[in-house]
């Protein structure tokens, strides 16, 4: 596996070299004057002035611009300088007198540097006329027409390099685009046939290191007409007015650094022209023009190229944005669908995973996981839950932002190597401290075509104890295989994930609100139920008592006058009232068994049993029942309800006795997380087909003549156990006696609440 770590294996160029913008070598094809304003006295000059202008350097340093150029031209120039109108001034054709009557024409370019110093640079004018506007217009128009016909970004870039090459006649014109790591890819190239192609190659970041990129950002066009020419000095080296070296950032004549020149030599470049492409104040790319031999390009033509570069580049940006825009629109459409699904579904997680498009579509991922409260909902290809647990712990400890993404998780979290085929790329959004949504992308093994071995882009040689950088000599195709890396997360995808995060957070908050509302409603309806229970206990009983009492009063008062029929009728009336009374009492008892009224406490089941037996003692004595029990545990339960439970079940065992005296045994057994109680009798038993029915309210298997009762007892038992999150059931055969079982969870309510939540979340994640 080849791993190229470009961040550490390269020497830090910025540290090794003196800052490029303070590099005071000047290309020899032009002359530099550093001027003192307002009189325009010459305070510094490049040493080649003597040769080009035929004047002694010390004479020049004493002189004023007027002494070199005729004053008529200078009037206009001075006016422009005063207004700081350099765009209007540049270039100014200036005639300098050399050797008596001979004049040489220069393109004069003025600028004021960051130190406020005025600098004039003269380049020999190779055309005496400006490039005719019309010919430039035609050039640009043809180019733009061609550009409009192309559809893809790459075709478009190809047209640019062809047109620029046509305009400038360089041997090779390349469009070079920087990626996020500042490596450059050659995405378009036009060249002489015999030259080796660089198209598709990637050049490491160090080929155009940061200081150089900064210069390219501020200096949009840069010409090195002869990469082999020896540069000249500025005299004096220190500016006498500001007493500092001059900042040459915006100088057009500034020499390239020796290292860059060597780089060009190694590439076999005799001259170069570089046009910067800037998007949103960032260096997006460059158009690099190379010639094998020295080549001079006039200032006008350079400006024309820059202009063309800018015009067409604005088109590139807008196309790039359109491509982005279309994708962004698609993503935001998907997003709005998901938000709809989330708010329609009972649970937002279902909304994210159960429809098409789903969570995966938001970021064009192959896998996604939603981790809420320690439970996972997985879609597509994802690591195992156990691995996700560790990954989330790692995220909790290392990531504080609203979003985290990487296209090479294994490089920062080595455990991820084992699931690199699933999750080399990770995009994570925390919903809250412990809840996350994660997206995964698999490893994509890519081949990167480097222009030469990026590990050897520079060699450092130790020359007399001085560290010196030597750019590589080979630019041949060098293939690198990139592993442990996924396709990169695009900014639009990252933004889409952030938008989704906002939506989820909103929905979670809203659902919490709704839950609170629901709890409030429940509380209210509970209170109403309690009120109803009171009404039932009082207001319904009053008329019953009235009927019973007056029927009895009749009987009492007119005893001698009533016949047997009348007495029987009166008995039926009284019995009816009595049954009604029992029914009301039982319904009331049933309604009183509710969660809120339950007081969970450590309860000795044996105590509850003994209380129940005490209440039943009359019937026990009547029937001669033999009741035995094992030692019973202490459990978390409501003691009154537990007592009622025993009382109902044992009461039933006595009531439904067989011919023999009842024998009833009560036992308890500890299972994994519940206590299992059993109440075994030797009674008449129950046909198994009714074993469910008997727990339903008002369901009876016998007439009241055979066995009295309302059919509420077991329904109450069932409700008591529901409140305790336990279960009750019967195992029996007709005539074989019956065993009623019930379970009570060991942990009591707290544990059950938690389990209740888990169960709910399991339902939520039911699609897994």
């Amino acid at each position: 596996m080849t791993q190229v770590d470009l961040s550490t294996s390269y020497p830090d160029l910025a540290r090794l070299e003196e800052p490029i913008h303070l590099y005071h070598q000047i290309q020899p094809h032009g002359v530099v004057f550093v001027l003192d304003e307002p009189d325009l006295n010459i305070v510094q000059v490049s040493t080649n002035a003597q040769q080009i202008l035929g004047l002694q350097i010390d004479k020049i340093l004493d002189a004023n611009l007027e002494d070199i150029f005729d004053s008529f031209q200078l009037e206009r120039i001075k006016a422009g300088i005063q207004d700081d109108n350099f765009d209007f001034l540049n270039p100014s054709k200036v005639w300098a007198r050399v050797k008596g009557d001979e004049y040489v024409v220069f393109d004069g370019i003025f600028h004021r540097n960051s130190q406020g110093v005025l600098i004039l640079e003269l380049e020999p004018a190779i055309s005496y006329e400006n490039i005719p506007f019309l010919s430039f217009y035609h050039l640009a128009k043809t180019s733009i027409n061609k550009l409009e016909e192309t559809s893809t970004l790459n075709d478009f870039c190809q047209v640019i390099v062809q047109e620029i090459r046509k305009m400038t006649d360089f041997d090779r014109v390349m469009l070079y685009r920087f990626d996020e790591d500042n490596h450059g890819d050659v995405i378009a190239e036009d060249k002489l046939d015999e030259l080796e192609s660089y198209l598709g190659l990637r050049f490491p970041e160090t080929d155009i290191p940061k200081p150089a990129r900064q210069l390219l950002s501020s200096n949009w066009i840069r010409l090195i007409p002869d990469a082999k020419a020896s540069s000249v000095q500025l005299i004096p080296a220190i500016n006498p007015i500001i007493e500092q070296p001059i900042d040459f950032t915006h100088s057009i004549l500034r020499s390239a650094s020796p290292c860059h020149l060597e780089y060009l030599h190694n590439m076999n470049v005799g001259s170069s022209l570089t046009i910067s492409l800037i998007k949103n104040q960032k260096l997006w790319g460059i158009i690099a023009c190379h010639h094998q031999t020295p080549k001079y390009v006039s200032y006008e033509l350079r400006k024309a190229c820059e202009f063309l570069g800018r015009v067409v580049f604005s088109e590139i940006s807008s196309r790039e944005e359109t491509e982005d825009y279309d994708y962004r629109m698609r993503l935001s459409y998907i997003q709005s669908l998901l938000i709809d699904y989330m708010s329609q579904d009972d649970n937002f997680i279902n909304g994210l995973v159960r429809h098409n498009p789903n969570l995966l579509s938001v970021t064009s991922s192959q896998g996604a996981a939603i981790c809420i409260g320690g439970n996972y909902t997985l879609v597509g290809r994802t690591p195992e839950e156990e691995d996700l647990n560790y990954l989330i712990q790692w995220l909790q400890n290392n990531i504080d932002d609203e979003i985290f993404y990487t296209d090479s998780l294994a490089q920062i979290y080595p455990d991820a190597i084992k699931y690199k085929d699933i999750a080399s790329g990770l995009l994570a959004i925390p919903i809250s401290k412990r809840n996350y949504v994660l997206w995964f992308r698999p490893e994509v093994i890519q081949t990167v075509n480097w222009g030469g071995d990026p590990n050897k882009a520079f060699l450092t040689t130790n020359n007399n104890g001085n560290l010196r950088l030597c750019p590589r000599k080979s630019f041949e195709l060098w293939k690198e295989t990139v592993r442990l890396t996924s396709l990169p997360w695009k900014q639009v995808e990252v933004n889409a994930a952030l938008e989704l995060r906002k939506a989820i957070v909103n929905i979670v908050l809203r659902q919490a609100d709704e839950l609170a509302q629901l709890a409030q409603d429940l509380e209210r309806s509970n209170a109403e139920l309690k009120k109803f229970a009171y009404v039932a206990s009082h207001d319904l009983q009053e008329p019953l008592n009235q009927v019973a009492n007056y029927v009895q009063l009749l009987e009492m008062r007119y005893q001698g006058e009533l016949d047997e029929d009348a007495k029987e009728f009166i008995n039926f009336a009284v019995e009816g009232v009595s049954l009604m009374q029992t029914l009301i009492d039982d319904v009331l008892a049933y309604s009183k068994v509710d969660m809120q009224g339950v007081e969970y406490q450590l309860t000795n089941a044996e105590t509850a049993l003994l209380r129940a037996l005490a209440n039943l003692r009359g019937r026990v004595a009547e029937t001669g029942a033999k009741i035995t029990h094992d030692p019973l545990p202490t459990i978390l339960a409501d003691s009154t309800q537990l007592m009622q439970l025993f009382q109902n079940l044992i009461g039933n065992a006595i009531k439904f006795r067989s011919e023999q005296p009842p024998e009833i045994s009560i036992s308890a057994q500890r299972l994994e997380d519940v206590w299992l109680f059993a109440i075994r009798d030797n009674g008449i038993g129950i046909d198994p087909q009714f074993s469910e029915r008997i727990f339903v309210i008002f369901q009876r298997l016998h007439t009241r003549d055979e066995y009295p009762g309302t059919g509420m007892g077991l329904a109450i038992c069932k409700k008591i156990l529901e409140c305790h999150r336990g279960r009750v059931w019967v195992e029996s055969e007709l005539g074989q006696g019956a065993t009623f079982y019930f379970t009570i969870p060991i942990g009591g309510r707290e544990r059950d609440r938690r389990r209740g939540r888990q169960a709910q979340n399991y339902l939520v994640g039911g699609g897994q």
Binding site: Y534, N545, Q546, A548, Q552, L553, M556
Partner: protein, 148 residues
Amino acid sequence: MIAEEVAKHKIILLVEDSKADIRLVQEVLKSSSVSHELIIVRNGMDAMAYLHQEGEFSNALRPNLILLDLNLPRKDGREVLAEIKSDPELKRIPVVVLTTSRNEEDIYYSYELHVNCYITKSRNLNELFKIVKGIEEFWLSTVTLPFE
């Protein structure tokens, strides 16, 4: 002696809205051995007016026993009980709550308000006879109350 006469002739104040229940109490008391007068008021407001000798009750006699239903129109039995038991003049009169309600809260609350006893009306007539007679005998004959 006036005091002697008053002691012989007991005043029972029945606060009850249900005609049927009133009649039933009257029927039961017919067989009473204690000489008494049963005074009936049908709501809580009237009960308090009677006890304070207000309006039409300006000549009312102080009762020896109050039989109080809890659910009454206008002012309910709980309020009546609270007012009686917080009134220094009235609080020594024995009050028996006689009601259909077997609600535990009602029972607890009544004793909190210092009711003298709380009795649930029975739907068994014989039992009802026993209860009312018991009340009468206990409160009007057996116990010794402060002389007023």
